[in-house]
């Protein structure tokens, strides 16, 4: 399979490329690409630069000063990690994200297997409604959910988020895993059934090992989604020590008399790192999960 694809790729690479002259390719491809990259990376560059600049240097813009750090300093990061509750917020975010991701993956695996493989009566409609559930945005649910969360007595606790994040994650993960399960041959399951395995054994011993790439894709996508979640966390959490990083950055770190840009950018940088690191290891899975969900 891989060899075949590679062979095709080589053949395709040759394609009609000889028709493109180098100056033309520079104008049509490389220059626009460079501009795109510049614009897309511009904010991150400054996030990094500002995080390590001293207060004095931040206010000084002359010439190309803004683009470079002349006296790098760790004071913002030190302040953030040792004089604010930032580590606590990071911990909250991590706890909520990991729990809701695992909960969602468990639910999604069961649901996707049921819809795609057990094909129970009405499974088609259930599959359809799962897709529709994916299209329900959090911005229309947060008020009723806030009322429910309050009545359930989990307001202002991590549980409020662990229980509500799966509503965003399960539909997506189920939809993605359904695609992966579909690609596993029925014959494998039939063999196992003949050999006397029950459904749970088939799922855990045959289907899941074969769907590992799908599990990783769904897992990291769910992780990123819940790490980035903002509106539920903003609504359901009120005390500083329970906040997640995105919410705490907005509500706790911004003091309106004087903006502490260095601290804010350092917080943004550190808060982005976990997803960025995870992402850098699993780029391919990430792309496949993003495009997979759309292609279905």
């Amino acid at each position: 399979m891989t060899d075949k694809r590679k062979a095709r790729a080589v053949y395709d690479d040759e394609g009609m490329n000889y028709l493109q002259t180098i100056p033309r390719k520079v104008v049509v491809v490389y220059i626009p690409l460079a501009i795109f990259m510049f614009v897309l990376l511009f904010p991150f560059y400054f996030m990094g630069v500002v995080s390590f600049k001293s207060h004095a240097e931040l206010l000084n813009y002359r010439g190309l000063q803004a683009f470079w750090i002349y006296e790098p300093t760790m004071e913002h990061i030190k302040h953030l990690l040792f004089e604010t509750e930032y580590p606590r917020w990071l911990w909250n975010t991590m706890l909520v994200t990991v729990s809701s991701t695992f909960l969602s993956i468990f639910c999604a695996v069961c649901a996707a297997y049921a819809i795609e493989r057990l094909r129970f009566k009405g499974s088609k409609y259930v599959g359809m409604s799962i897709f529709l559930a994916y299209l329900v945005p959090p911005s229309i649910l947060f008020i009723p959910l806030a009322v429910m969360v309050f009545k359930l007595g989990v307001f202002d606790s991590n549980w409020a988020l662990i229980l509500t994040y799966p509503t965003i994650l399960i539909p997506f993960c189920t939809w993605l895993l359904m695609g992966y399960f579909r690609s596993i041959p029925y014959e494998l399951e039939e063999c196992a059934l003949v050999d006397g395995a029950n459904r749970f054994q088939i799922l855990t011993k045959i289907v899941l090992p074969l769907a590992v790439p799908g599990l990783i894709s769904a897992g990291i996508f769910a992780f990123t989604l819940s790490w980035n979640e903002f509106i539920y966390a903003l609504t359901f959490i009120s005390s500083a020590e329970n906040k997640t990083v995105p919410v705490a950055m907005i509500t706790e770190l911004i003091t309106f008399d004087q903006y502490n840009w260095g601290g804010l950018m350092a917080g943004a940088l550190i808060g982005s790192l976990p997803v960025a690191i995870l992402y850098s290891f699993f780029v391919e899975h990430y792309v496949s999960s993003m495009t997979g969900a759309v292609k279905e």
Binding site: F36, Y61, I140, L141, V147, T167, I231, M249, S272
Partner: protein
């Protein structure tokens, strides 16, 4: 023989259950179904109900029918927020689509270190929106804006631009930030679509004398429409219900110029405590979302064959 059967009596009932598709289906659906019914379907209905009451924080409300909606229809701030939402969604989506498609076509060329470039392109999409919105907030700051300073140094302008203080500037600024955030998603998904188009089609067209523009309009675009329909539906959906970018950068200001329906709903419902009214604003978004979903559904249905796929 008979003994063996009786000995296995207990398990055989279990086995029969285990082989019953419907029963097992129900069992496997239970965890996801419970969570989704309790925390998604029920709140959706509760939201519609709340929209028809005058509940406030700490005060149970009474049913007021469509009064909230009637009020909203005469509320100039709400109407402004509807206008803003449409402006934001339409302008941002069109530009995101144009630039995203362009970037996808560029990336579809033979470029060295393509995988690395693609990974970098996706960064704005994976980094938490709130945190990149903070970076934009700094870029747009009224006094310390790096953009203003660059333009001043280049001699384009002579005093700093008030990006987020002036209503129209603020609208343009938040739209620009949204476009920045949305391009990677559009570009990478469309790139995946572009890669499924067989190159032989282009070769055949070239031999027949088609120029680049003709190849784009007659091959690329028609074959890409199913994916474009889905991608743009998602894009429109998420732009329409956007909350984070606005809340971080402007909180709906200046003078409500950037209030979207979602931010107004939060402002009234949670900050102001008028849960009923906030829910009504949120419910008012549903018809538009349904329209977008139906558009996607029919867009998909008609054109499945174009990808060479079978209608199954």
């Amino acid at each position: 023989m008979a003994n063996a059967q009786t000995a296995n009596g207990g398990t055989s009932v279990l086995t029969r259950w285990m082989n019953n598709r419907n029963l097992m289906g129900m069992l496997f659906m239970l965890p996801a179904g419970t969570i989704l019914l309790i925390f998604l379907t029920y709140p959706l209905a509760l939201g519609v109900w709340l929209g028809m009451t005058d509940v406030k924080v700490g005060r149970p409300g009474v049913f007021v029918g469509l009064e909230n909606f009637a009020w909203l229809m005469e509320d100039s701030v709400f109407l402004l927020s509807v206008f803003n939402t449409f402006l934001y969604t339409i302008v941002a989506s069109i530009i995101k689509f144009g630039l995203g498609l362009w970037l996808a076509i560029i990336l579809n060329n033979n470029i060295p270190i393509k995988a690395f470039i693609r990974a970098i392109v996706l960064l704005p999409f994976i980094v938490p929106t709130v945190l990149s919105a903070l970076a934009f907030w700094w870029i747009y700051d009224s006094q310390d804006s790096v953009l203003s300073w660059i333009l001043i140094e280049m001699g384009v302008i002579d005093k700093t631009i008030d990006f987020l203080g002036d209503p129209n500037n603020a609208r343009a600024s938040v739209i620009a930030a949204n476009i920045w955030r949305g391009i990677p998603f559009v570009a990478i998904t469309l790139l995946a679509g572009l890669q499924t188009i067989p190159r032989t089609l282009y070769e055949a067209a070239t031999i027949d004398g088609a120029n680049e523009w003709q190849r784009f309009t007659r091959i690329t675009f028609p074959l890409l429409t199913p994916i474009i329909a889905v991608v743009m539906t998602f894009s429109v959906l998420f732009t329409f219900t956007d909350f984070q970018l606005i809340w971080v950068m402007t909180r709906g200001g200046p003078i409500n110029a950037t209030h979207l329906m979602a931010t107004l709903s939060y402002q009234r419902g949670i900050v102001g405590g008028a849960l009923g009214e906030g829910a009504a604003i949120a419910v008012a978004m549903i018809p538009f979302l349904l329209a977008a979903i139906l558009f996607s559904y029919f867009g998909l249905q008609n054109r499945k064959w174009q990808r060479g796929g079978r209608d199954d």
